[in-house]
Symmetry: C2
Subunit: 350 residues, 2 copies
């Protein structure tokens, strides 16, 4: 009796030690693949974030007067009430699903086809200078005429110059410049604000940095599956994605609702045949908050999205139980959403 | 010498006493015409503002999934970064200039033609049920078919029901109701939030309640002109307007850019010939923040707007100096803009 009790206690301790050992091994493996979101905004060496520039960048992010018809701002599609996306399948500007601005500063490049190098480049060169940009209005598509783009940019500058408070704000944000209200500075200011839009303190990051209790067993099992099934081969790094490109349909093409033949992805940027149907690997940070999924925005169902990816990219048919666990893990990637106090935008006076 | 010094001091004291008397008389006159914006949100007797309802109302105010195409929220046109308006001359929904939601709770009725009785009525019955509503898209006008409106409302309810957190939020905001996620409760919740969108503590209100130094001499002279020229005959009360209707063009019709013949104003609501070209008197609270002006949004220039009103309504041609003073007074009506922390809107899961 006494012997069996001692044996039982010993057995229990072994299981505990084994679990602790397994947890440690999983964390070591995870640390080799992933990094937590930093607690503070990263800095740009050539674009320091002064309080004045940050305040201006926030105003411009919400500024509809940066659009030709004064009805769209960055915040329209990259809605900060909705984890930096809209709830619509295809962007009005690009014809692809909107990718979130949250943590975008950590991505290798921007857009599904990677055509913008960084946040500033995205604002200055891509939104306004993409000759393929099409405004999908309710009345049908309306192509932006590339010949008019320079005029459009000038028109926006002219609109801002009718607002005395902006003329002043650009002077204080870019001191010493003779003509600070220029497009490049709009990009710099917005980039500095967007770099603050990060979501630290997710349950996964807390676990990764040592808090065993931050994930439950189902979520840990989901993480193991995420690594061992091969998802983490592409979805890794600080953004659990966002750091590389991959062909969509490595093993098997998904249906045309997910991969329509007319959108060849990164090929449009590089004209390299190897880039046909290659897209930037999406970040999975806050993925439960950012439906719909895929560059087509074809589903709002995260289980479905996981199943499609497993089949197309890994040739794996997941069981219901495996999908449940992976989705449980993905939901631990939701971080603290940024607190955004709306800026007050100054009126024009003529 | 001594006599003349005494006389001078006496004269100065008399002027001081005279100025104080004049200030007191002006304030008495103003108190008979105007009221300050209260410091706290007014309450609705049949729609108490619980924290849960307020939080839900704020979410719904920013919720694009309340629109058919999931791309417009209350906040789109009543932009809380822009004093509750957009910066566009004509609303996309109504074809008239957007009126601010700030302090709208104190208006007698809503819309330029007064077709909504209050905030809740505006949400529930007018936005969705106005058979004249026309969506002015970039591709041209798109009439909303009144026959489809009930379906549209149901469609919105269905959209919200795909979001589990909303199903829960309506239960806690409207406890004890068997089916709380209904259109009427959307209106109640949004009305409760909108009632908090008030702008107390303007310089004018501080002066009105006793702070002599809150207005300078030019602004006080502007207030006197505003009263004595007759502006305050209509623009009075807590909202300096918003409490009555008036024909636009009492003395002389303004040009068709300000009063296009095809928009007969309140006549469309009452079918009473006396209401042709009658419009709700606009509130002048925060007027410097809410260009463009008039139901047509025909000018961004507040001086021009004042001059047009004086000629059309009072038959008065103001001097440059008089306009400067009146505009200086109008700018004292800008109150403390509400601090809005963006809500985080929950994702749908299917």
């Amino acid at each position: 009796m006494r012997h069996s009790l001692v044996a039982s206690i010993f057995a229990l301790l072994s299981v505990g030690a084994g679990a602790a050992h397994a947890e440690g091994a999983l964390r070591d493996q995870a640390k080799g693949l992933f990094e937590p979101i930093p607690k503070t905004a990263p800095a740009f060496p050539n674009n320091p974030a002064t309080p004045e520039k940050l305040a201006l960048g926030k105003m411009l992010y919400f500024e509809t007067r940066l659009s030709e018809h004064r009805d769209m701002a960055c915040a329209t599609c990259h809605n900060l009430s909705m984890s930096g996306v809209d709830t619509i399948a295809s962007s009005q500007l690009a014809g692809r699903d909107v990718q979130t601005v949250l943590n975008a500063v950590f991505n290798k490049s921007l857009y599904w086809d990677g055509r913008a190098a960084d946040l500033q480049d995205q604002v200055v060169n891509s939104v306004m200078a993409n000759p393929k940009a099409v405004l999908k209005t309710r009345g049908g598509p309306m192509a932006i005429n590339p010949v008019e783009l320079a005029a459009t940019k000038q028109h926006e500058i002219d609109q801002l110059k009718t607002v005395p408070a902006y003329v002043e704000a650009f002077k204080t944000a870019f001191p010493g410049e003779a003509d600070p209200l220029v497009y490049n500075n709009i990009g710099k200011a917005i980039a500095v604000f967007e770099a603050t839009l990060i979501t630290p303190d997710s349950a996964f990051d807390r676990w990764l940095t040592g808090d065993d209790a931050a994930l439950d067993d189902t979520q840990k099992a989901g993480l193991e599956l995420f690594i061992n099934k091969g998802c983490a081969a592409c979805h890794n790094g600080v953004n659990i994605g966002g750091a590389s490109y991959a062909k969509f349909g490595v093993v098997a093409n998904p249906g045309p609702e997910y991969l329509p033949p007319e959108d060849a992805g990164r090929y449009a940027v590089t004209k390299n045949n190897a880039d046909r149907y290659v897209f930037k690997v999406a970040s999975l940070r806050n993925v439960e908050m950012t439906p719909p999924y895929f560059h087509t925005g074809s589903t709002f169902d995260l289980r479905k999205a996981v199943a499609v990816m497993a089949e197309a990219q890994l040739g794996a048919k997941l069981s219901d139980d495996e999908t449940t666990k992976i989705v449980a893990f993905l939901k631990t990637l939701t971080g603290k959403q940024p607190d955004i106090v709306l800026p007050v935008l100054p009126p024009r006076d003529r």
